[in-house]
C-alpha cells in the first residue's frame, strides 16, 4: 500500500515534468532537423546552427535581448537595493505606500503595464526604440529586486550596524563591511530574477519597442505568421543548454560549500 502510494507520487511528478519539458525537448529536437518543417523529421543536421551565425537580424535580436536584460537588471538592482535600505528605515505608513506602489507592476497585467508605458513615451514625445524598452524593463525589474532584498534586510540586526559605527567605522564603511555581506544573497537573487524576467518578457517589450528594434521574443512574434526560422530553435537550444550547465554548476558548487560547512 505504502509502496503503491510512493509509485503514484513518483509517476505524478514525472508526468508533470514531462508536461513542463515536452515543448523544450521538441524545440531541441527540431533544431537538429534537416528540413525547414516544424512538424516533420527529415534527418539529423547541424545546418541551422551554422545558419544562425550568418543570420544578422537574429544575432542583433540576441544582442538586444542580452544587453537590455543585463543593463536593466543591473540598474534595477542598484536602485532597488538603495530603495530597500531606505524603506527599511521608514515609518510604517510611507513604507506601506511605497510597497503598495512597488507591488503594482508585479500584480498588474503585463498588457496594462506595457500600454501605460507606451502612452507615457508617446505623451513625452520620447521615440519608441531601444531606450524606451530599456526604461520599461528597469521599471518592471525594480520590484523583483526590492521583494528579494527586503526580507534579508528585515533579518539583519540594526544593532550590528550601529555597533560597527560605535567602534569607529563610518556609516559607509559600516554598510559595506557589515550590512552588505548580510543582504548580498538577496541582492544576487533579485538580480538573477530580474535578469530572467527581462529575458523572458514579451508583452511589455511588444508595446514599448519601436519599429526596427527587436528582442528575441518580439522577433519570434513577428515571425509567427510568416513561419519561424529554424535558426530560432537553434538559438533557443543554445541559450537553454548554456543556462542549464551554468545552473547545474552553481548548484553543485553550493552543495559542496554546504558539505564543507557541515564538516
Amino acid at each position: 500500500m505504502v509502496k503503491l502510494g510512493k509509485f503514484f507520487k513518483g509517476l505524478y511528478v514525472v508526468l508533470m515534468g514531462i508536461f513542463l519539458y515536452a515543448p523544450i525537448f521538441t524545440l531541441i529536437v527540431f533544431s537538429f532537423n534537416a528540413g525547414k518543417s516544424r512538424a516533420k523529421w527529415d534527418g539529423f543536421s547541424l545546418k541551422w546552427y551554422a545558419a544562425l551565425f550568418q543570420n544578422q537580424t537574429i544575432l542583433q535580436a540576441l544582442y538586444n535581448t542580452i544587453i537590455i536584460a543585463l543593463v536593466s537588471s543591473l540598474i534595477a538592482t542598484l536602485i532597488g537595493t538603495m530603495a530597500s535600505i531606505a524603506m527599511n528605515r521608514m515609518k510604517k505608513l510611507p513604507r506601506q505606500v511605497m510597497m503598495g506602489i512597488t507591488n503594482i507592476p508585479m500584480l498588474n497585467a503585463d498588457i496594462v503595464t506595457g500600454i501605460s508605458l507606451m502612452l507615457l513615451f508617446i505623451m513625452m514625445d520620447f521615440a519608441l526604440g531601444f531606450t524606451s524598452v530599456l526604461l520599461a524593463h528597469i521599471t518592471f525589474n525594480i520590484p523583483y529586486v526590492i521583494l528579494s532584498v527586503m526580507p534579508k534586510l528585515k533579518q539583519t540586526d540594526r544593532h550590528v550596524f550601529e555597533a560597527a559605527q560605535d567602534l569607529g567605522a563610518t556609516p559607509i564603511s559600516a554598510f559595506f563591511k557589515v550590512v552588505l555581506p548580510d543582504i548580498f544573497p538577496g541582492i544576487l537573487s533579485g538580480f538573477l530574477l530580474a535578469f530572467t524576467m527581462s529575458l523572458d518578457d514579451f508583452v511589455i517589450t511588444h508595446f514599448t519597442k519601436g519599429a526596427g528594434v527587436d528582442t528575441i521574443s518580439t522577433k519570434v512574434y513577428t515571425e509567427l505568421r510568416k513561419g519561424i526560422k529554424p535558426e530560432m530553435y537553434a538559438l533557443s537550444t543554445l541559450m537553454f543548454v548554456t543556462v542549464l550547465i551554468l545552473l547545474v554548476f552553481i548548484n553543485r558548487r553550493r552543495d559542496r560549500q554546504n558539505e564543507a560547512q557541515k564538516i
Binding site: K9, Y12, M16, G17, F19, L20, A22, P23, I24, L27, F30, R38, A39, I79, G80, M82, A83, I85, M87, M90, M98, M99, G100, M106, L107, N108, A109, I111, V112, T113, I115, S116, L117, M118, L119, L120, I122, A136, I138, T139, I142, L147, S148, M150, P171, L193, L199, D200, F202, H206, I216, V220, Y221, L224, I228, M232, S236, F240, L244, D255
Partner: protein, 279 residues
C-alpha cells in the same frame, strides 16, 4: 541634531531615485490610461470608450476571457496542489533545486515553447501520430478554446506551484503530528490543518495565474489560430493595428477593474501587504 540631518539626507539620497522612478514610470502612466480611456480623439470627456465593452464582439471576448482564465486557474490549482505536497514532503529538501526545475523552462522563450505545443497538438502532430500508432482515438483541440486553456495552464502553472510549495515546505511538522496524535485521520488532518494553513500560498497562486491568463493575447494568437479573440487580443489590436489608443485604454480600464478586484481579495489574505514574494 546635525547627525539627524545627515541621516535624513542619506535617506533622501537612497530613496530619492526610486521615488522619482516610481512616480514617473508607475503612477503617472496609470493615470495616462485613465486619461486616454475617458477622452476622445479631440480630448473631450466621454464614457464611450468604456461603454464600448457592451458591444457584442467585446462582450463575447470579455466573457470568453473570464471563462477561460477561471478554468485555467482551477486546473492549475488542482494540478499544482498534489505536486507541491509531494515535493514538500519528499526527502529532496533542496528547495533551491526544486524551484530551479520550475523556473528553468522560463529560460527558453515562452512564445517558442507555446509554439512547440502547436507542433505536438496539431491534428497530424506528434501526439496524434503516437496515438494513431498505438490505436487510440486522436485529439483535435488546436484552434479551439481548449487549446488556449492548455497553453495558459502550461505557461502559468509554475506561478501556482511555487507559492503553494513555499507555504507547505515551511509548515511546522509538529502541528501535523499533533493533529494526528489527537486522533485526526489523514483526511481530517489535511482538511482542517494543512489546507487552512496553506491558504496564503493558494491565494497568491490564484492571483498570479488568474491575472496573466485573463489578459493574455499571445497564447490565444498562437494556439487559437487568431480566430478566437480574448479581451487581450482586442486591446492589443486597438493599440498596435488600429492605433486607437482611446478605445484601447477604455477597454484596459474595464480589464483593470477585474485585476483590482483580484488584488483586493488577495491582499485581504496577505499579512502586512508586503509578502508577495513567491520565490
Amino acid at each position: 541634531m546635525k547627525n539627524k540631518k545627515r541621516h535624513s539626507l542619506g535617506q533622501l539620497l537612497l530613496a530619492g531615485p526610486y521615488t522619482v522612478w516610481m512616480v514617473g514610470f508607475i503612477v503617472i502612466p496609470l493615470f495616462l490610461i485613465v486619461y486616454y480611456g475617458l477622452t476622445n480623439k479631440s480630448g473631450a470627456f466621454t464614457w464611450e470608450n468604456i461603454t464600448a465593452i457592451t458591444s457584442a464582439v467585446n462582450m463575447k471576448a470579455l466573457w470568453l476571457s473570464v471563462e477561460l482564465s477561471v478554468i485555467c486557474t482551477v486546473v492549475c490549482l488542482v494540478l499544482s496542489y498534489p505536486l507541491a505536497m509531494i515535493l514538500a514532503n519528499s526527502k529532496m529538501k533542496n528547495s533551491s533545486l526544486t524551484a530551479f526545475l520550475f523556473i528553468l523552462p522560463m529560460w527558453m522563450n515562452a512564445l517558442l515553447r507555446t509554439l512547440a505545443w502547436l507542433t505536438l497538438l496539431e491534428n497530424n502532430g506528434v501526439i496524434n501520430t503516437i496515438l494513431t500508432k498505438i490505436g487510440l482515438p486522436t485529439i483535435h483541440i488546436i484552434n479551439t478554446p481548449t487549446a488556449i486553456v492548455f497553453g495558459m495552464v502550461y505557461n502559468y502553472i509554475p506561478f501556482m506551484i511555487l507559492p503553494i510549495y513555499n507555504v507547505l515546505v515551511k509548515l511546522d511538522k509538529n502541528v501535523i503530528n499533533a493533529a494526528r496524535d489527537l486522533g485526526a485521520n489523514a483526511v481530517q488532518t489535511f482538511l482542517r490543518v494543512i489546507l487552512p494553513l496553506s491558504i496564503p500560498g493558494i491565494i497568491s497562486g490564484i492571483t498570479m495565474v488568474f491575472v496573466p491568463s485573463l489578459t493574455t493575447f499571445a497564447i490565444s494568437d498562437i494556439l487559437g489560430g487568431s480566430k478566437i479573440l480574448l479581451l487581450g487580443n482586442i486591446i492589443e489590436q486597438k493599440f498596435k493595428t488600429a492605433n486607437n489608443w482611446h478605445a484601447g485604454s477604455g477597454l484596459s480600464l474595464v480589464l483593470m477593474v477585474f485585476i483590482i478586484v483580484t488584488m483586493v481579495i488577495s491582499s485581504h489574505y496577505e499579512k502586512d501587504g508586503e509578502s508577495a514574494n513567491v520565490w
